[in-house]
Structures are given as C-alpha cells and as structure tokens.
C-alpha cells in the first residue's frame, strides 16, 4: 500500500495534535494492513478507549489483545497492570509484589514518579513488538495510538530519559533496550498526523524536527481530513463573473467560491507540511459530518491504498 515509509517497520507510533484524527488514522492503517493479510495490533495508551467506539466493540479489555476485525486486534495498555507485571518480572518475591500492588501508597507514588507511567506503557508496547511465538513474531504490525503531541513525544523520550537517569541497574538496562528499538529506523516508524489547518501543521513540523533531533525515525506524515476538491481555477473565474441579482443564485455562488478558497488554503497547508517535514504526506479525505465506524475506515483505507476513491460528495451518505 502507499505507505512506503512505514512499509517494512513493525512498530508504528501515530502522533499529532489533539483531535487531528490520530485514532482514526491508527485504525485506518490497521485496517489497510489487516486487509493485506498482516497480523496487526493497535495499542491504545493513556486510558483512551477510542477503538471500541470505532469498531463497535463491546469488550473492555486491559492488557489483552481483543479481536476487532479479521487479523486486527486492539490492546488497551493499562498502567497499573503493566506496573504490576513489571514488578513481578523484577522482584521475584511474589508476596512483596502483591503488597506493593495493593498498597495505595505505592499507587500514589507510581502515578507521580516522573516518567514511570510512560516507561511501563512504552515497555508494554515494546513487548508486543518483540513477542515471538515458535520463532516468528506474533505481530507483523504494532500501531501505537499516541496521546497528543507533547505527551506523545514525552512517551517516546521516556526510555532515553530513564536510562540516563538511572545510570545502572535493571531499570536502566530495560529502558536502554527499549530506547534502542524505538530509535531504530528498521524497527520503528513514527507517523505524524495533521489536519489542513495552521496549528496542527505547525505542530507537526515542530514535532518532526524535535523528534529527528533526538534521533527518532520520523517515517511518514499523514494529512487527514482534506476536503475532496470540487472546484478549479477556471470555475472560480466563471463564478466570480456571475452578476448579482437573484439572491439564491448569489448565495449558491458564494458557497462555491468559499469552498474553492478553502480548498486553496488546505492545499497550501499540505504543501507546507511536505516542505516543513521533507516528506510526501499521505492524504486522507474528509468524510464529512459522519460518525466514523468500520465502513468509513474501509473507505479511508481505500484512500491509503490509492484505490480510486469514490467521489461521494461530503455529507452525503
């Protein structure tokens, strides 16, 4: 499919400003890859539960894969549960682990310890990417639906921070192993999502620069919600010449001219995203005021695959 930058990487982080469509894009990538026969898991972090909405999935699962569609699984990373797993793996005295886990004191501590929730989250994601069964990787693709930009970047940086902070010992070693994987361009690809608007695009460009400066593999950008273009330069000049008079005609012409103006702004934002990140953004169309569910995700996956997109006008089911 037309996601060359992401094609051969197992671990994909989907990052971007709040509300730009990270969850929708993660689900779209997952849908496209699962259709192509890959075994895919989408990891949700930081207590979001968007996948269950998108796939009308009733099951609330924590830290276990749940099937959303053929070949496509969801995995909701639970920080408490992951912390417990982590402790269990390192402190082999089970009663002590139980005691820690049941203690509210410990929970308070763990929730505020800088970087700890992020580290166990990233550790869980890393485990998914490294899991093997009978010598073969369990997952072909692990897609991480990250929290909004600042928190998303913090999540990625946490392994490096902790390995620096701890200096030595098992925590450091583990953090270092994770850091190596999330920075390795053969293993990991970061996909930055934007919408064709000023702030999301600026944020995407800044995030790409910050991540690259830190040695993270920014592999792709995705412009989500581009309005399918309906008018062209020659249309605009004709529309501009329609004389006033009939107010209903004037209103219709104004609506078309506004759409054309809007499309140019969107195009300018797309060019800016491309130039500012040095990528060729993948484009996903705006589907209009619909509730996004599986059939919409299939449409978006078609667009990713470059299949002739149905020219369904915006807003018409």
């Amino acid at each position: 499919m037309s996601a060359p930058g992401l094609f051969d990487r197992r671990l994909i982080f989907v990052l971007g400003k709040g509300g730009v469509g990270k969850s929708v894009v993660a689900a779209t990538l997952g849908t496209a890859w699962a259709r192509a026969g890959k075994r895919v898991v989408i990891a949700e972090v930081a207590d979001q539960h968007r996948l269950s909405d998108l796939f009308a999935n009733r099951e609330e699962t924590r830290n276990t894969p749940t099937e959303l569609a053929p070949n496509l699984f969801g995995f909701s990373v639970d920080v408490d549960k992951s912390t417990e797993d982590y402790l269990a793996a390192h402190i082999r005295v089970r009663p002590l682990v139980d005691l820690l886990v049941r203690s509210r004191t410990f929970h308070n501590f763990a929730a505020a310890a800088p970087g700890l929730p992020e580290l166990v989250t990233l550790g869980k994601v890393w485990e998914l990417a490294m899991a093997v069964d009978g010598g073969r990787p369990v997952w072909d693709k692990v897609i991480v639906d990250c929290p909004a930009t600042g928190h998303g970047i913090a999540l990625l940086q946490t392994a490096g921070n902790v390995s620096e902070l701890a200096a030595q010992g098992p925590v450091r070693d583990q953090a270092h192993r994770i850091e190596e994987v999330v920075k390795h361009p053969a293993a990991t690809g970061i996909a930055i999502v934007a919408r064709p608007e000023e702030l999301p695009v600026t944020e995407a460009i800044d995030a790409a620069a910050a991540l690259r400066a830190d040695g993270f593999p920014v592999a792709a950008t995705i412009m989500n919600g581009m309005t399918p273009r309906r008018f062209w330069a020659e249309d605009a000049s004709v529309l501009g010449r329609v004389p006033g008079g009939d107010p209903t005609i004037t209103a219709a012409v104004r609506s078309a001219l506004r759409a054309d103006h809007h499309a140019r702004i969107e195009q300018a934002h797309l060019d800016e995203l491309a130039a500012g990140t040095g990528t060729t953004p993948m484009v996903l169309p705006d589907l209009g005021p619909v509730v996004i569910a599986q059939s919409e995700l299939a449409l978006l996956a078609d667009a990713l695959d470059g299949a002739p997109r149905s020219l369904r006008p915006v807003g018409h089911p």
């Binding site: 400003k17 709040g18 509300g19 730009v20 207590d47 390192h90 402190i91 005295v93 002590l96 820690l100 203690s103 004191t105 410990f106 308070n108 501590f109 929730a111 505020a112 310890a113 800088p114 992020e118 909004a148 930009t149 600042g150 928190h151 970047i153 913090a154 902070l165 701890a166 200096a167 030595q168 010992g169 098992p170 925590v171 450091r172 000023e198 600026t202 944020e203 309906r230 249309d235 004709v238 529309l239 010449r241 329609v242 004389p243 009939d246 209903t248 005609i249 209103a251 219709a252 012409v253 609506s255 078309a256 506004r258 759409a259 809007h262 209009g288 006008p313 915006v314 807003g315 018409h316």
Partner: protein, 369 residues
Amino acid sequence: MSLSGLEGRRVIVCCGSGGVGKTTISAGIALALANRGARVAVVTIDPARRLAAALGLAELGDDPRQVPIGPTGGSGELWALQLDAKATFDRLVCRHAPTPEAAERILANRIYAHLSGAVAGSQEYMAVERLNELTDDPRFEVVVLDTPPAQNALDFLDAPTRITHFIEGKSLRMLLSPGAAAGNLGWRMLHAGSSTVFSILERVTGAQLLRDLSEFLGAFDGMYTGFSERAERVRTLLHSPRAAFVVVSSADDEPVREAVMLVERLTADGYPLGPAVMNRIRPRADLPPPPRHALVEALAGAGATHADDLADRTLAQLADDEARARRDHDACTRLARLLGDREPVQVPDFADEPVEIAGLEHVADALAR
C-alpha cells in the same frame, strides 16, 4: 448570556477536548472582557505561532505582555503570557527554599530536572500555580486560563495534589522504611524495621536512582507545607464563586461527549460553571437553493463552458454546507439538552482562522452577543 455569566469573576478556566479551540476562546474571552473595561491577563498554552505573534508572545519568556487593542470601555487592558512550566516551577522552588543554597541544590538535582521538564503533570500543575502568581498581581482584575491538551481534560485539577504528594515523599518513605508508616500494620509486620524493601527496590532501580531520589526528597524537606498551601489556595479559589469554568466544544461527537462529561464532573466536584461554548459552528442557510435551470443559465452567461456540470457541483456544495450546518445546529441543541437546557454560546467557524487581533475581535464579538 453571554459574558454576563462571567462578569465579576476573578478567574476563568477554559477546558475541553483537544483541538476544539480552548486557546482561541481563552484569548477571545479575555479580549471581550478587556473591551468591556476590565484589566485582563490571559495565560495561553502553546498558541499558534501567528496568534503568539499577535499577542506579542513571539519571543520566549512567560512575563505578561500588554497587547495593544482598540479603544475599550473605560480602562480595559489585555495582557497575555505563555505558560513556561519549568520557569514557573523554578520560581516556586526559589520562593519556598529556606536558603538560596537549598534552592540551588534542588535546581541542580537530576530528578528535579526530569520532574519539572516533564510534560505530563508538570505543565498542568504549573498552569494552576501560575494562577496563584497572577491573582496576586495587582495589575490584573481577571485571569483567563487556557488549559493544556491532556488525555483527561481535568488532569490539571488533580496534578497539584499528585505532584505535591510525590514531593512530600511520604509514600516513598513509607516504602523504604516501613517503620515510619505509623498505623500501617501490614507493612510493619512484614518488614519490621528492616530495609528489605529498600534493598529489593534497589535491585530493580539500581543504587544511583534511589540515591538521587532520596537526595531529591531531602532537598525538598520542609518545603512541602508551602507547596501544599499554595495548591490548596488555588483549589479554594477555583471552588469559589469568584471562578468560572467555561467548557469548550466543537460540533464533533467526541468533543460533545467530552464536554458533557466535563460538566458533570465539574458539577459533582463543586466547581462553578460558566457558559459552555460551541466553537466553529456554521450558519444555516436562510435561502432555499436556486432552481437548477436558473443557475445553469447564470453560469453560462458568465462564460462557463460546461455550465450544467458546474451548476451541479455548485448545488452539491450548497447541500454539503447545509448538511454540515444542520449537524452543527443539532450538536448545539443536543449539548443544550444534555446541559439542562442551558444554551451554549455559539462561535462561528471563521473562513480565516482567528490568529490575529482582528480575528480575535470577531471571536470576542460572538462571545459577547
């Protein structure tokens, strides 16, 4: 409403889901109040570059800057600043450290560097701490606080407690020296005074990290009370009728759901609500579409080579606009119903993003209507 619901408040907090326009609406509210004669400071978080430029925040630094605005009713002034969480945290430390040396020691501590620089938690905590500083500042009558994008839009209300607890280190001390945990029988019985937990934790974290951590907690010793007093002061202010929470939403499903959840949680926790704002609402058409033949004729007259085709696309556009406007309208109605028929204030979706003062004036007008 609209702004009448906000008159006389000392602090206005704008919250809502990611990307709905919290920063824009905060600036719009601040401008509208300044236009009515108040001296207002708005604390923005990550404003768009052009908005930052328009507010005079292009350079770094989190000092309030006065923004030149048009003539206002009386002595209105608009001031803007951009939250710098680390700088705010550093000031907080310097304010409460018993000696300059103690402050230095904390600022140089590696754990402190990570804590104060961490996005998660620190930004939320410092947004709230900034309220303390600004409400003490006699230059301002009103402070409008934009909130950081967080997974949970109310994280910033919990962050102060979470972080001051961590700094207090009670939980850690309890873990490390069970004897200190008075009343916690389970711990004492299991480890009566021993440092088993310490040595086991050390196995996991390495000695260095634990050493740094205890140094960090040691450095903060005695400062905890000052910190928690300040956190408590904001909590009291935010619960008082001098505060108002403005929940911002767009017409998308997710944000509306989040807005309703926010309102419920704020109400349950006893925070005073201001009006809800529905941002980026497109207006319904007030005219029916033109008859197709009339449109074709008009377009042909204007020189269209394929007037039929262009007319169809134009009519399709008109229908799409209307579908969106209807969806937006329905979302407003739904939100009003869910909020117990309190009409949300509507701000239109502007063709040009309101990232300059002129654009913000339109936002302010819509809010004041």
